[in-house]
């Protein structure tokens, strides 16, 4: 089992030992390289999502739940997610390599043509999702190498809308 943090290419693996309901992290590898960790001990607090987290910074409570394919963590007022991936599987980051639909919706307008050069920040498409219009902007300057949808098309979240070359 490997772990991923959103917006990061790093893959983590974790070695654990368990004794009397307390799980201790003995090491964390990042992209196969073992990192030293100061001791992290975790145990359940009740039969709920609440856990007790003991580190060198003291004892804290956190909430953890696996919902969908993600682990959700509420720690000191902030929420984090961690993805669980099968060892050796492809990254679950679907946005790699192109411009993907940030959410399901419908394409309202395509503002560019294949082969056209665009500036960073230039609007490429307009899509409608829920109740608002969203503009898909070029994340960098470059040439439009492929346009994968037309006006009126329905797109799923993560679908690659436009591909940009250099």
């Amino acid at each position: 089992m490997e772990w991923e943090i959103p917006d990061s290419d790093e893959k983590f693996s974790v070695d654990l030992t368990e004794r009397e309901g307390m799980v201790t992290t003995t090491s964390v590898s990042i992209n196969g390289i073992i990192n030293d960790v100061s001791e992290i001990r975790i145990s359940k607090a009740g039969d709920d999502s609440r856990i007790i987290l003991e580190t060198d910074r003291g004892t804290r409570f956190a909430h953890v739940a696996k919902i969908g394919d993600k682990w959700w963590i509420h720690l000191e007022g902030e929420v984090y997610t961690v993805n669980e991936v099968e060892k050796g599987s492809k990254s679950s980051d679907r946005s790699a390599g192109g411009l993907s639909a940030p959410m399901p919706g419908t394409i309202l307008e395509v503002m560019v043509k294949e082969g056209q050069r665009v500036r960073e920040g230039q609007p490429l498409m307009t899509m409608e999702a829920m109740k608002m219009e969203h503009r898909i902007l070029a994340p960098k300057s470059g040439e439009v190498t492929s346009i994968n949808f037309n006006q009126g098309d329905r797109v799923d979240m993560g679908a690659t809308l436009v591909e940009l070359g250099d």
């Binding site: 917006d7 992290t25 999502s49 909430h63 739940a65 696996k66 000191e76 961690v82 329905r154």
Partner: protein, 517 residues
């Protein structure tokens, strides 16, 4: 059987149909029940399991796949009132709340309408007629040129010349718009066509009316709104201001009362203008006069919302007046029974809107299952929620999940109370804006009380970034939790069956064409 408090009422009623959903339906249903009346909910398919129908005394199903067929259908709602024998209708906010034709249909059906007259809704609902009525009544309006651009053929020539007269930057607004829909800022002439087309599209899609008009954009202004209450006997008072300057793309994010920019003199003056505005349309019920306060202390009429406002709780907290209870009393024909002199300000209140949206990806709405939903509790903390733990958040409706409201003796302690409440608000399974709200609240500009309406749109999002946490700690928590078996403790639906497109369990065929007005 009418409740005891209604014995003097000229148009008493014993049941209320709440023509809405989500947190506001819950809020109103509770108030209706507290008043000793029967509360009737309505619901469409995606709401079969919703909180508002669980708490109602009775629920009427509205068929149809799109909002236009159910929550937005006058006929369907009035039919539901007939079926259930409801004697009054409360529209909440959004949906049909500001539709004069609906108010008229309710009245014509012999049902008590909990709101202002159809004529008042009509006059205030059309920005152009509202503006001219305000000019007649001596209420200051935003400098600009009035023009109606009818929908249909190309009007770019006329629009461009009006835009040039008004001057850039300007605001294009759908005449029937509101809530940030159909409203576009145009900073330079070459963007006029694009923005006009987008505004017209949004407006016609959301309101069934594509009319747009032009107004000078005031920069560095604050959004101050005055709550008014008026009865059917000519009594009208105001309940102080709310400061809603913290906005993103014209959608309010955090609201508070009172405003740190409003002195006692200014409050009196704004309050008098708001009462004047309400009286100009013979307003009845609870309404809100929105004003823009410019940096030089001048204020201008923006619009009047002829309904209950999302942020009404902050006014309730500082005045101790239950606005929904008052709406029920007024609709039954009772006297207001409160004098302007008796309205005070007790402490400070702040409201934060909890949205299912992801600040990191441009505030896109998020979907999923609210596997863990633990709102904070404690003295001075109020949560108006439309959801409960385990609920699905789908693309069908507006992504607002709840409102977190705090009340404290002064502004600084209210900010602290809100910070604590937000950080102990545990919502897992759906990305929310809670972290963003907390960082916005603690931003120096908010703490110092100097927020203007352009603050959020002009401040880099990185200033609201969440605190960094060591990824090694996070993956350790996840891996340990898995070892402890926490992945099996959730006994909700199987998430692998969730449709990626809609967020519905096992239903890939729902349309996306639903809109919350």
């Amino acid at each position: 059987m009418f409740p005891e408090w209604m014995k003097e009422a000229s148009t008493p009623f014993s049941s209320v149909l709440v023509a809405n959903r989500g947190e506001i339906a819950v809020r109103i249903i509770k108030a209706v029940q507290e008043a000793g009346l029967r509360a009737i909910a309505v619901y469409s398919d995606p709401d079969r399991n919703a909180l508002h129908l669980e708490i109602a005394d009775e629920a009427v199903y509205l068929p149809g796949d799109s909002l236009v067929e159910n929550y937005l259908s006058s006929e369907a709602i009035i039919q539901a009132a007939r079926t259930s024998g409801a004697q009054a209708i409360h529209p909440g906010y959004g949906f049909l709340s500001e539709r004069a034709d609906f108010a008229r249909a309710v009245v014509n059906a012999g049902i008590v309408w909990i709101g202002p007259s159809p004529e008042a809704i009509e006059t205030m609902g059309d920005k152009i007629s509202a503006r001219s009525r305000m000019i007649e009544s001596g209420v200051p309006v935003i400098p600009g040129d009035e023009i109606a651009i009818p929908e249909g053929s190309d009007h770019m020539g006329a629009l461009a010349s009006v835009a040039a007269r008004v001057g850039y930057p300007l605001l294009l607004k759908a005449s029937a718009g509101g809530g940030g829909k159909g409203m576009r800022v145009v900073r330079e002439p070459k963007m006029l066509r694009t923005e006009y087309e987008a505004a017209a599209r949004e407006a016609s899609a959301a309101f069934g009316d594509g009319t747009v008009y032009v107004e000078r954009l005031l920069t560095g202004a604050r959004h101050i709104e005055i709550q008014v209450l008026a009865d059917k006997h000519g009594n009208c008072i105001h309940l102080n201001e709310r400061d809603c300057s913290l906005q993103r793309r014209h959608q309010k994010v955090i609201e508070e009362a009172p405003s740190s920019a409003v002195s006692d003199d200014l409050r009196r003056s704004m309050g008098e203008s708001a009462v004047l505005a309400a009286m100009a349309v013979d307003y009845v019920g609870a309404g809100t006069v929105e004003l823009l306060l410019s940096p030089n202390g001048q204020y201008y009429f923006l619009e009047m919302n002829t309904r209950l406002q999302v942020e009404h709780p902050v006014t309730e907290m500082i005045t101790g007046i239950d606005l929904v209870q008052k709406q029920l009393e007024i609709a039954s024909g009772m006297q207001l029974g409160i004098s302007q002199d008796s309205i005070g300000i007790n402490g400070h209140s702040i409201e934060a809107r909890i949205y299912a949206e992801d600040a990191k990806s441009g505030f896109l709405p998020s979907i999923g299952n609210l596997g863990i939903w633990r709102p904070p509790t404690g003295p001075g903390i109020r949560v108006d929620s439309g959801v409960r733990e385990g609920d699905e958040v789908t693309v069908d409706f507006d992504p607002m999940l709840a409102k977190l409201i705090v009340h404290a003796p002064d502004r600084i302690s209210a900010i602290r109370r809100m910070d604590n409440a937000l950080s102990s608000f545990v919502a897992l399974g759906v990305t929310t804006n809670i972290g963003f709200l907390r960082n916005a609240l603690l931003h120096q500009s908010f703490k110092s009380g100097s927020i203007t309406t352009d603050f959020l749109d002009s401040t880099p999002i990185t200033e609201f970034d969440p605190e960094y946490s060591d990824p090694k700690t996070l993956v350790s928590i996840a891996a340990s939790a898995k070892r402890l078996g926490l992945d099996r403790s959730m006994n909700s639906v199987s998430y692998t069956d969730l449709d990626d497109h809609s967020g519905h369990p096992g239903d890939p065929f729902r349309t996306l064409s639903r809109r919350f007005p």
